[in-house]
Amino acid sequence: MYLAKVYITLKPTVNDPQGLTIKGALHNLGFDTVKSVRYGKYMELQMEGEDIARAGEQVKEMCRKLLANTVIENFSFELEEMKIT
């Protein structure tokens, strides 16, 4: 079993009104050190399998097909082995 941690982020060229609004709210709370906020998505996928390379390929395919819209988003992921209890 593997745990895939998938991160979906907006491409740097894409405007992010949610990130800007969050940054404004943080400034209102006095967190003046925040220079930029980019809003994104995080997903955890539990996957069956014994071959980490193959699992990685599958996650990449899932991201390209469904999890990310590559017109506006980038994706990255981490894979870790899960202990079956």
């Binding site: 060229t13 894409v14 405007n15 009104p17 949610q18 609004t21 469904l66 999890l67 819209n69 017109v71 506006i72």
Partner: protein
């Protein structure tokens, strides 16, 4: 003419499209369930507005993989007319039948209001009943209608007259103030390169009789009917 209106789980404007086409314009209309794959006999497929699959993940991202969609793609590849309204536009972009993407409105608000649309290309199957530069009044109702495309795509759309509608003032002026969602180039509706697949965020079916505040939306349906009639 025979119209098919696709219903996904969460579609809400299918009934309004049916009413506009069937009751007001007296066309032959049938609903297509998202699990159906038979589009035979149809002249035009409508992907109506709503929140298919709750807009989970991204608007249109799940609906794009519905059983009906490969049939819609084949239908479009055969040169038949496909129109996506609101969520339907989002689905067409997710499916790659139209370029670009529809993002959360720049002000982060859901907007339900009348908009003025400048018809930028009146020679398409979807706009031939309008005049050059005509301004039509059609309402929007969305949270994610902020059209985005990269520079190259925008250039291609503009150069080839593929922008059909732009948000504008009532006098036709394209302004930042008339842009209700932050769309690039004030884009409200586009067509594919072949000219048979159209997507727009405003709802023509909600402007189909004076009682609703206007009937400019019928210009789009009547254009489709005229195009199909001439073809026969």
């Amino acid at each position: 003419m025979k119209f098919g209106i696709v219903t996904f789980p969460g579609t809400w404007s299918d009934g309004d499209c049916y009413y506009s086409l069937g009751n007001i314009l007296e066309q032959d209309v049938r609903y297509i369930w998202h699990k159906d794959t038979d589009l035979s006999g149809l002249d035009c497929v409508v992907l109506p507005g709503g929140f298919s699959y709750g807009d989970y993940l991204r608007a249109g991202a799940i609906a794009r993989f519905s059983a009906v969609m490969p049939a819609v793609e084949r239908f479009a590849a055969g040169g038949k007319l496909v129109i996506g309204i609101c969520n339907g536009f989002q689905i067409l972009c997710e499916a790659g039948l139209l370029p670009g993407a529809l993002m959360t409105n720049s002000h982060l608000q859901y907007r339900c209001q009348w908009t003025n649309l400048k018809v930028e290309n009146h020679n398409s199957p979807f706009t031939n009943q309008s005049t050059a530069g005509q301004v039509i009044k059609v309402p929007i109702s969305h949270h994610g209608g902020n059209y985005y495309a990269d520079e190259r795509t925008l250039e291609d759309l503009e150069k080839n007259n593929r922008v059909l509608f732009r948000y504008c003032e009532s006098n036709g002026e394209i302004s930042a103030g008339s842009n209700p969602n932050g769309s690039m180039h004030n884009i409200a509706g586009i067509i594919n390169a072949r000219g048979n697949v159209m997507g727009m965020m405003p709802h023509p079916e909600r402007a189909c009789e004076p009682l609703l505040g206007g009937s400019d939306g019928n210009i789009i349906w009547k254009s489709i009917i005229r195009y199909l009639t001439n073809k026969v």
